[in-house]
Amino acid sequence: MFNYYLGLAVRSLRRNVVLTVLMIAAVGVGIGASMTTLTVFRAMDADPIPQKSSQLYTVQLDNWGPKRRGLGTGDAENLQPQISYQDAMAFMHAHQGVRQSAMYLTGLALIPSNVDLKPEQVITRAAYTDFFGMFQTPFLFGGAWTGEDDENHASVVVLSRELNNKVFGGRNSVGKTLNLDGRDYRITGVLNDWNPLPKFYDLNNDKYEKSAQIYIPFTRAIDGQMASWGNYNCNGDTGPAGWEGHLRSECVWLQFWLELPTRADAERFRHYLDGYAAEQRQNGRFDWSARTRLRDVREWLVYQNAVSQEARILVLVSFSFLLVCLINAMGLMLAKIMGRSADIGVRRALGANRAAIFGQCLMEAGVIGVAGGILGLLLTALGLIGLRSLVSEGVARLTHFNLSDITIAVVLSIAATLLAGLYPTWRAAQVQPAWQLKTQ
C-alpha cells in the first residue's frame, strides 16, 4: 500500500514538473536558510559542559558599591562580571567547594631554542590545579600540576595539543621544558582537543574564541606580574601604584569558578558569601550591604548573553522565511491538487474512500518534504560554508553541522510539508465524485 501510494505520488508529481520543482525549491530553500541559522544558534546556545553545568558556579560581589554606578560597567544591580584579587584570594583560602580556581587570561612569549627563530606569542591562562579537574579537561599526555606546585608558585605548564604539535611534533613532551618569557617551565601535561563553546568560564572578550595555548599556575603568574589580557575594570579609587597596589585595589579582572556538587552545597556557599560580604562591611571595607550572586553555567550563559544579537535576528528572519516558503508550497499544492479534481473524482467513483484519497495526497506532500529536506541539507551545508567565509573566526567555529542538526532538518522538512499539505489534502478528500464526473 505504502509503495503503491508512493508510486502514485511520484507519477503525479512528474505530471507537472514545474509546480513540483517550485514546491521542492520553496521547501528546500526555506529549510536551508533556517537550518543554517539554527545550527549557529544552537551552537551559541549549547551547554559547553553538559555533564557538570549544574555543579559549576561563578561568583559576583558588589565590591564597588552604589556610588560607582555611574561607571556603567556593571549590570542593573551594579554587579561586575569579574572579581578583585583580594576577594578571589579570600574565596580560594576559604576552600568552600570540592574544587575551585581563580583564573585570568594573559600572554607570554615562547622563546624557541633555535635562536634564529622569532619569539612567538602564546595565549596563556593562569589558573589553579583544580581548573583541570573541575572542567574535566581531557589529557593526551601527563596531567595537571599538583596543589603543591600551586603553593610553591612553581614554573610548570600544561600545553594545548595544538602547541604541542607545533613545538614537539605531537610527541609526548611531559618532563621537557619550555622557555616562556626567558624562564624555563616544566611540562606536566598536554591537553587533548578542548575548546568548550561558548567559552563559559571567561566570556569577557570573544565568547567563542579558542581555549588558551598554555596553562600556568595562577600563583606563578602573579609572581611574574603578568598583566591581564582580558577585561580590567577599576572604580577609580586610587591606591598605591604598581603591582602591589594593583593586587590590593578594587579593580575587577579575575574569574572565579567552584564546584558544588549538590544544591545543598550551593545553598551553603550562598550563606558563606553573604557572611563574607557582611564581614567586609564590618571590617570597614564596604559602607554598604554588598549584594552577592552565585550562578551556575547555564544561568551564567543567559546572564552574559552568550547568544549574540545577530544570531537571534537571523533565526527570527530565517524562520519567518521558512514560514513564507511553506505557505508558498501550500498554495502550490492546493493548486496542483485542485487541478486534478477530475482525476480524484474518477478514483472516488471507482471506489476509493476519502481516507485513501487523503493518504494518497498526503504521500505527495511527504515526497515533497523528503526531497525538500535533502535539498535543504545541501543548501545548509553550502550556507554554513558561505557563513564561515563571511564571519569572524570565533563565530565561524560555531558553523559545524552535526548529526542532530541533520535529523532536525529532515524531520522539520517532512513535518512542515505535511502540515502545509494537510489543508490541500483535506480539500482533495472532499471532492464529490458525482459532481466531478458530471462536469466532464
Binding site: L22, V29, G30, A33, T37, R68, G70, L71, G72, T73, G107, A109, I111, P119, Q121, D181, G182, R183, N205, G224, A227, W229, Y232, C234, N235, G236, D237, A241, G242, G245, H246, S308, Q309, E310, R312, I313, L314, L316, V317, S320, F321, L323, V324, C325, I327, N328, M330, G331, L332, L334, A335, K336, M338, G339, L387, L390, V391, S392, V395, Y423
Partner: protein, 409 residues
C-alpha cells in the same frame, strides 16, 4: 475598475487569495526590518574614526618578559619609526580606534560626583599623537613635550597634566560649547585636568553594535602619557601612497633594534576596519541573500497560484473574450485582482513590520523603524505582485475567444 466581479470570483477561491496575502504580509515585514538592519549595519561599519585612515597603520608590540629598561626601548622604537623614509609621524599608545580593546574613564565636573557626567575612551599618547593619527584639531593646541609624563602600566594612576578631547565629548560635558580651557576630573580622581585642545572627531576603540563602547562611541580623550607597558600599540602615519612599503620597513627596522619582542597585527586602518566589522558585514550579506530569496519565493508563489487560476478559468476567460473583452481587459483583471490581494497583504504587513520592530526594540535595543522604509517596502511588494502576475495574465489574455464555443477545456 470592476472590483465587484473580482471580489465575487475571489470569494470562490478564498484560501488561495489568503495564502498570497499572508505571504505578502510576512515578506513585507521581513523585508522592511531586514533592509533597516542592513542600512544600520552598513552605516555603522562606515563610521569615520577621525583618523587619516588611508595613511595610518598600527603595530601591536609585545616585549618578551617584563624588561626593566622599557623607557629606553620605547624611545628607541619611536625614533626608529619616526626616521623611516615615508613616515610623517609615529606614536605609542595603549590602544587605537578599531582595535576593539582599550581603556575608558568617567569624566566629572565635580570631584565628589557619584554619577559620571560622561564616559570616554582614553588614549595614552605623547605630543606626536595629533600628527600621527591625522586627527583634525579644531580648537586649542597640541600637547607640549613638557606635558608628557611617563605612565608605567595601568597601575600607575597619576592624573594627566592636560587633555585633548573629541568635540562630541566636549559638547556632552560642556553643552554651551565652551569646553576649551575648562577643567574636568577624570576617573574619580581629585585633580583638576585642563582641556587644552579639541579635535573634530575621534572614535573609541570598540566597534560592536552592542559593545560596552557603543554607548559613548564618539567620546574619546587623549592623555599626554608616554605609556611604558609590555604591550603597546604603535600608530604610524605615512605619506600618501607609501603605506605598504613603510609597513614592511617598519617591521624590519623594529626587529633589527631588538629581537626579543613579538610584533602582531601589523595592519592598515582599512584592514583593521574590515576585521572589526566582519560580523556586521556577514549579517548584511546574509540578510541580503535572505531578502532576495524571499522576494524570489514570493514572486514564484504568485506566478504559480495565478497560473493555476488562469488554467481553472480558461473557459470563462474565453467566454469574456468572445463577448467582446479586449486582451487588455483580461490582463487588467488579473492585475487588479493581484493588486487587491497585495494591498490587503501590505496593510497587514505594515502592522506586522511595526510589531516586529517593537519586539526588536525591546529585546535588542534596536532603533525605531523609519516610516520611509515601511512605505518603500509596501510599494516594493505591490510592484513585486504586479510584476509576478504579468506573465500568467498575458497567458490568460492569449486564450482564444473561440474556446468559449468548444465543449471542453
Amino acid at each position: 475598475m470592476e472590483f465587484q466581479p473580482i471580489l465575487a470570483a475571489m470569494s470562490r477561491n478564498k484560501i488561495g487569495a489568503v495564502l498570497i496575502g499572508v505571504q505578502i504580509a510576512i515578506t513585507l515585514a521581513i523585508l522592511v526590518n531586514g533592509l533597516f538592519i542592513i542600512q544600520q549595519r552598513v552605516a555603522l561599519s562606515h563610521r569615520a574614526t577621525g583618523l587619516d585612515e588611508p595613511n595610518v597603520f598600527t603595530i601591536r608590540n609585545q616585549w618578551v618578559g617584563n624588561p626593566t629598561n622599557m623607557e629606553a626601548k620605547l624611545r628607541t622604537d619611536l625614533s626608529v619609526l619616526r626616521s623611516l623614509p615615508g613616515v610623517i609621524d609615529a606614536t605609542a599608545s595603549n590602544s587605537a580606534p578599531l582595535s576593539n580593546g582599550g581603556s575608558s574613564e568617567g569624566v566629572n565636573l565635580d570631584p565628589d560626583q557619584q554619577q559620571a557626567t560622561a564616559l570616554t575612551a582614553v588614549y595614552f599618547m605623547d605630543d606626536h599623537a595629533l600628527n600621527a593619527l591625522g586627527v583634525k584639531l579644531i580648537a586649542g593646541r597640541n600637547f607640549t613635550p613638557d606635558e608628557v609624563t611617563p605612565k608605567i602600566g595601568f597601575d600607575d594612576r597619576h592624573p594627566p597634566s592636560a587633555i585633548i578631547m573629541s568635540k562630541a565629548l566636549a559638547d556632552k560635558v560642556f553643552p554651551a560649547g565652551d569646553a576649551l580651557g575648562k577643567s574636568v576630573y577624570l576617573a574619580f580622581q581629585k585633580t583638576r585636568v585642563p582641556i587644552v585642545g579639541i579635535v573634530d572627531r575621534l572614535q573609541v576603540p570598540w566597534t560592536g553594535v552592542d559593545d560596552w563602547g557603543s554607548k559613548f562611541n564618539d567620546n574619546a580623550t587623549l592623555e599626554p602619557f608616554q605609556f611604558e607597558s609590555p604591550l603597546v600599540h604603535y600608530v604610524v602615519r605615512t605619506k600618501p601612497g607609501q603605506i605598504v612599503n613603510v609597513m614592511k620597513a617598519a617591521e624590519k627596522a623594529l626587529l633589527a633594534t631588538d629581537r626579543l619582542r613579538i610584533l602582531e597585527q601589523i595592519q592598515t586602518q582599512s584592514e583593521s576596519r574590515l576585521e572589526a566589522y566582519r560580523d556586521d558585514h556577514g549579517l548584511v550579506v546574509i540578510l541580503g541573500i535572505v531578502c532576495a530569496a524571499l522576494i524570489a519565493v514570493t514572486a514564484f508563489g504568485i506566478v504559480g497560484l495565478t497560473s493555476y487560476w488562469v488554467a481553472q478559468r480558461r473557459r470563462q476567460i474565453g467566454i469574456r473574450r468572445a463577448l467582446g473583452a479586449t486582451k487588455n481587459a483580461i490582463v487588467r483583471y488579473f492585475q487588479t485582482e493581484n493588486l487587491m490581494i497585495a494591498v490587503a497583504g501590505a496593510l497587514a504587513g505594515v502592522a506586522l513590520a511595526l510589531v516586529v520592530n517593537v519586539w526588536m526594540m525591546n529585546s535588542f535595543a534596536a532603533q525605531r523603524l523609519n516610516v520611509a522604509y515601511v512605505l518603500v517596502g509596501a510599494v516594493l511588494v505591490l510592484l513585486l505582485g504586479q510584476a509576478a502576475v504579468l506573465w500568467p495574465a498575458l497567458k490568460a489574455a492569449s486564450i482564444p475567444p473561440a474556446l468559449a464555443t468548444r465543449g471542453s477545456m
